[in-house]
């Protein structure tokens, strides 16, 4: 008996040491889904141990860049935000070549063609190479208090004041009117204190929030005529020939609209992701533009029957995350990491992570699945949004461009810089300096 116990102990130790361990860095909004998937993966692959390491958004990108530049290989796989694609691409394994080298590792019916084409292109491809597998096809949606919009008394009061029906907004001008109606300072009978929760803090948030407004004008027929169609590498901040597009009439209009909406929002310059979610949760506001993730929170706190969701008035913005493998790790770990990231992006995984954790789907099969469509009312809004959303630049200079831009925009919105073409031209000049042009 004693010998058996000793043998069992030795076997366990050998197994523990013989298992390949991989660590996966991710952002907090991907972490829960990835942890669950890691658990499911390890059940099927007991010889691989997966550790999911969440890092805050502010820390993740510098950590990735530092590790990849130093080739330290201190982690094996990671999720990267779509706009950092260019900056981190040099350190990512070429997954296309890897698949050719190890075709037997690809899960059966994996089907790369099932990924939403634009998503695969934007978050997974860089300069013709497949470097990431789309995991979280995040985008922004417009959440509103359905019970307030459907309240007959409020609808009547709105019609009396504005001469039109209280309908779901499709433009920011319409949002402005509705937001005014739901702001107690301008309508003492408003059921909410503010109309809309906006987040314009001096962080990367402001960089993507601007696109919600700029996109409406940039991608209108006149905007397309002036600036050309945006491509997936440079996005709507640039013209078709890769010059800054925001120092234009369209760029000014976007900032003007943002300023017009500020009185109807609680502390927009001081509010970020967490604050605006809480304002909506607590019934302080009637509307909030937000990412797909908070929907589960809204469902449980506000109530599924009270939360409505529609495509963003104007245009939304893409915020995809992809899974990738560190190029600078041993081959054995690359194989283990590849097995995990392909497992985490199969059709089964894509569907279940959406249903369980609201991690927005990257595959067409998930969007078409009847069970998914019945379970989640956001699917129709997502389908519309994925086609029309705007995109941030993915070039390596993006993080630096982002920082100088949010500083300028923040000062404009705070009133310390004039809202003028000169200000935007100065910013465009700084962009050219960063881009070395």
């Amino acid at each position: 008996m004693r010998r058996l116990l000793v043998l069992a102990f030795v076997a366990l130790v050998v197994m523990a040491f013989s298992a390949v361990k991989i660590s996966v860095l991710c952002s907090p909004d991907n972490a829960d889904a990835l942890k669950w998937l890691a658990g499911e993966f390890m059940k099927q692959n007991p010889d691989i141990q997966v550790e999911i390491v969440p890092l805050s958004w502010e820390v993740l990108y510098p950590k990735l860049l530092q590790d990849l530049r130093s080739q330290a290989g201190s982690f094996d796989a990671f999720t990267y935000d779509v706009m950092t694609t260019g900056a981190v691409s040099f350190g990512l394994e070429d997954l296309g070549a890897f698949m050719k080298k190890y075709p037997e590792l690809l899960p059966p019916d994996y089907d790369l063609n099932d990924f939403i084409p634009q998503v695969l292109e934007e978050s997974g491809m860089w300069q013709g190479k497949l470097i990431g597998l789309p995991f979280y096809n995040n985008t922004m949606l417009f959440y509103y208090r359905r019970d307030l919009f459907e309240d007959p008394k409020l609808k009547q009061a709105f019609k009396e004041k504005y001469g039109r029906e209280l309908t779901l907004p499709t433009t920011w001008e319409e949002v402005k009117e509705i937001a005014e109606f739901f702001t107690r300072k301008f309508n003492k009978n408003s059921p909410t204190e503010y109309g809309i929760a906006l987040m314009f803090p001096r962080t990367h948030t402001l960089f993507y929030m601007y696109l919600l407004f700029f996109g409406e004008y940039r991608n209108a027929p006149l905007g397309i005529m002036r600036h050309g169609t945006a491509d997936l590498e440079y996005g709507e901040y640039f013209t078709a020939d890769h010059k800054p597009a925001f120092n234009s009439e369209e760029g000014l209009k976007a900032l003007e609209m943002m300023k017009k909406l500020m009185p109807y929002s609680p502390d927009p310059l001081g509010s970020d992701y967490g604050e605006t979610i809480e304002y909506f949760n607590q019934g302080l506001v009637a509307m909030v533009p937000q990412w797909t993730g908070p929907y589960l929170i809204f469902k449980s706190t506000v109530g599924a029957d009270k939360v409505g969701v529609i495509p963003m008035p104007g245009r939304s913005v893409s915020g995809q995350w992809a899974l990738a493998i560190n190029k600078f790790i041993p081959e054995e770990k690359k194989v283990a990491a590849f097995k995990f990231i392909t497992f985490a992006t199969t059709k089964w995984a894509d569907k279940n992570k959406f249903l369980r954790f609201a991690v927005a789907p990257a595959r067409m099969s998930t969007l078409k699945d009847p069970e998914v469509r019945a379970a989640d009312p956001r699917v129709p809004a997502l389908e519309v949004t994925y086609v029309s959303q705007t995109h941030r630049p993915r070039i390596p200079e993006e993080p630096r461009l982002e920082d100088i831009t949010v500083e300028t925009f923040s000062k404009i919105l705070a009133g310390t810089l004039p809202l003028s073409m000169d200000t935007l031209n100065d910013l465009a000049k700084k962009w050219q300096e960063v881009l070395g042009k």
């Binding site: 502010e58 530049r69 900056a87 803090p201 310059l269 001081g270 607590q282 200079e397 993080p399």
Partner: protein, 295 residues
């Protein structure tokens, strides 16, 4: 021979640690400040002389960061000194002195990241306790993190809250070591508590106050964590401290090691200058025996 070697062998590990963890990074920083060294564009570097240093003065964000740091230094440090001295003096002999003393040290013991998160919640526009408390006095809600002036005030308040206990601790300890017979002698001569403080205790506390001042100046110039956790330098660049900007340049958005190194060297020079000025103004070096007049 062996006897001469042994002491060196004993200190060798510490020496290696010191050289590798202090001297080498310092030398590397100086070296890279004269080079174009941008990790986001590859690991190649080239010598560019003083260009990084000249860039600082044309970089509006760097200048604004410097201005806010100077403001923080000019307001927070004197307030911390006055409050710390005042509180140390007031709680002496008070009922529950030990409990008050321990409670006063709590802010200093809270990790900066935790205090940043806590203060962000306290400053919340709609639900934060600070605005709720002010509403009891009919003060309308303040955008502590969204208004440039209030954001600066908010950061200063957090700094004062966190570091006044440090000054308090130093002064309180100093007050405990003031010889009682001097105080008794002054009282016998008819001195009230004010005169006792001004003419007996304060002169004896002066070296400690000056040490506290120097340490707070150095620390204040390094303010980073509370900005990172609350305002991220905004709105605009209103609450960018100099150290926070170095982090942005060197780590957060681009890994421009060369420029960040130049910013860091400048910070070091300014720190050394300020400390030297303080020493010279109050002739502390003479008092502490670091050197004679005119050095």
């Amino acid at each position: 021979m062996k006897n001469r070697l042994i002491p060196w062998l004993m200190v060798l590990p510490v020496l290696v640690l010191f050289l590798s963890m202090t001297i080498y990074p310092f030398a590397f920083m100086i070296w890279s400040s004269f080079r174009q060294y941008d990790l986001s564009k590859g690991a190649e570097t080239r010598f560019i002389g003083l260009s990084n240093y000249f860039q600082i003065f044309s970089d509006t964000t760097a200048v604004e960061s410097f201005k806010f740091t100077a403001k923080l230094l000019a307001i927070a440090v004197p307030v911390e000194l006055l409050l710390g001295i005042g509180v140390a003096f007031l709680i002496r002999g008070a009922r529950g002195e030990k409990i008050i003393r321990s409670s006063l040290l709590i802010p200093m013991m809270v990790p900066a990241a935790v205090s940043g998160v806590a203060w962000k919640m306290l400053y919340n526009y709609a639900f934060g306790p600070v605005n709720w408390f002010l509403s009891l006095f009919n003060v309308s809600r303040i955008s502590w993190l969204g208004d440039m002036n209030y954001a600066q005030l908010g950061i200063i308040l957090i700094d004062v809250w966190q570091w006044t206990p440090f000054v308090f601790l130093m002064i309180y300890a100093g007050l405990q070591s003031v010889p009682q017979d001097l105080i008794d002698a002054a009282r016998v001569d008819g001195a009230d508590w004010g005169r006792v403080f001004l003419h007996v205790e304060f002169p004896l506390l002066r070296p400690l106050i000056l040490v506290a001042l120097v340490l707070r100046i150095i620390d204040c110039l390094k303010t980073f964590d509370i900005v990172f956790m609350t305002t991220w330098g905004g709105p605009g660049a209103a609450t960018h401290t100099y150290s926070f900007y170095i982090y942005k340049v060197g780590v957060s958005f681009g890994w421009n090691i060369g420029y960040a190194s130049a910013l860091s060297v400048l910070l070091l020079l300014v720190s050394m200058l300020l400390v030297n000025i303080v020493f010279r103004l109050v002739r502390m070096r003479q008092q502490l025996g670091f050197g004679g007049e005119g050095e």
